[in-house]
Subunit: 344 residues, 2 copies
Amino acid sequence: MALSIEEKFDLIMRNTQEVITVPELKKLLETKEKPAVYIGTAVTGRPHVGYFVWGIKLGDFLKAGFKVKVLLADLHGALDNTPWPLLEKRYEYYSLVIRGMLKGIGADLSNFEIVKGSDFQLKKEYVLDLLKLSTFTSINDAKRAASDVVKFGDNPKLSGLIYPLMQALDEVYLNVDVQYGGLDQRKILVFARENLPMVGHKPRVEFMTPLIPSLTASGKMSSSDPNSKIDLIDGVEEIKKKLNKAFCPEKETTENGVLAFMKYVVMVRKQDTKKEFVVERPAKFGGNVSYKSYEELEKDYSEGKLHPMDLKTALAKEIDSMLEPIRKEFKGKEKLIQEAYPQK
Amino acid sequence: MALSIEEKFDLIMRNTQEVITVPELKKLLETKEKPAVYIGTAVTGRPHVGYFVWGIKLGDFLKAGFKVKVLLADLHGALDNTPWPLLEKRYEYYSLVIRGMLKGIGADLSNFEIVKGSDFQLKKEYVLDLLKLSTFTSINDAKRAASDVVKFGDNPKLSGLIYPLMQALDEVYLNVDVQYGGLDQRKILVFARENLPMVGHKPRVEFMTPLIPSLTASGKMSSSDPNSKIDLIDGVEEIKKKLNKAFCPEKETTENGVLAFMKYVVMVRKQDTKKEFVVERPAKFGGNVSYKSYEELEKDYSEGKLHPMDLKTALAKEIDSMLEPIRKEFKGKEKLIQEAYPQK
């Protein structure tokens, strides 16, 4: 049951924030049987359930007939403060949990590939292009491009300026038609588009999904506490504990990380698998209720017919089942987490 | 007639401005039969007679038993504004004239080698070290290190910040014990010394000769006009013409580019070859006079016994004979100069 070009387009575009440019994306779908897309993630902190937002979108790309590559950018991790000696173990860890995540989504992985940054970013042609690009890029432009992504700190390092140039070149050397990233990547994606032609490469389609509030943010204005995030290898008790602390005000549907996760992850999966999201409640609280779409759920929530605690309880079960394939993947490799993230 | 360690040391140290550190240099001479030294020159503008200052010093190193490498830094040329398409031709041109220059000095070239930057600077290990170094180097430190060497201009490019890091790593990958440069290189040399240990490499001895006033500067405060410089392939008429315009005030021995060239180049060669510098004059102007050492010449000059015009005439002949081997090397390859430096 091959999808039509329109169906492919609609699938890719759902929950999408911005595409540079939409006409180019359409033309790509019309002219190329199997286009290629990549998303890169620098190996830095521990992957958390927020990764499912792009995992789900990669599922859309796969269904739309794309070749999908996840770049595990080990060198970018180091350029953004991951200690060099931990790089390899973090790469191994990312590789494991991200593969598990995509399995968990139920994606057909025959057109999926994980690529390690240092496997191609140290090649002669790549480095020559990097140096070339550096002669056309002002220090200011490099800094601006990196500003939403790199943690520069008080004494910004040169590595942070090299970061966006390498990300631009990754599009070329991964041989993709589309780069996909969260909206925080926008400046780098635009940099890539504007500057690749300076070194003789064609610009690619830049594709962005929105940034959503953290699932487990403890309050609107609070900076995200890394320890509060639901880890991809957390067990059900940790999931419950962390979700319980999540900021999820009654009836409030914007700036609500729990609802956002429902919208961008859980309900997308439910719809795609033609299942319903079931909230189990004692009869005295209204009894069980189930939802076919996010819109139905949001409506009930905004009207106070669905209580945050009931939603959280149901979501915890959902996340637990999503993480099961990852924990399975991780079985027998528990030492890796200590090696990649040694306790101080 | 092998030199003693003291003789080697004295030879290397003549006309030298600064060594970081002298005890390390002494220890090197004491412990290593054939130490290695390199000087790098980015392939940018046309090499001129000022290059003889370091050419002469390389001769000293060769006589002192060093392995001597000249790095023709093509990539550094591009990082400092040489257009990428001209890089290869400029490299060829530099290679030709610099080899000719060292032949002209009469150096024994059996321990001499020209190395092309891009032949090793794009190798995996080098690039990995470059990225590592960039994570330890602040943007400010990189900019400071490069400030006396790179032409940053109004809109500084990222390439100029990468420049000093690569120069530091060149010491390692050229496998040398000493880096030699003009005093303008000081900040980069100190950067290398301080930062190589951050990426696991030992610091090298940094060796500097003074910056001397341009031979053909047209006045004390004037910025040097590139067209006024004596080119390594100039003929005798051009040499005379350019020397005639050189700023060389009577009796004035400091800030005098003509005298500086006599001191650092011509009289060193004369002493080494046990020849005299002969100034031919009509009898009415005092007749011929000849000098065994720079000190003798400077004394006469400061006392008005040697007139600038007579000095210039004699120097023109001297330079003409120094350039003869270079012109010979260049014979039949005249097209190269147009390809490397196309007229606008």
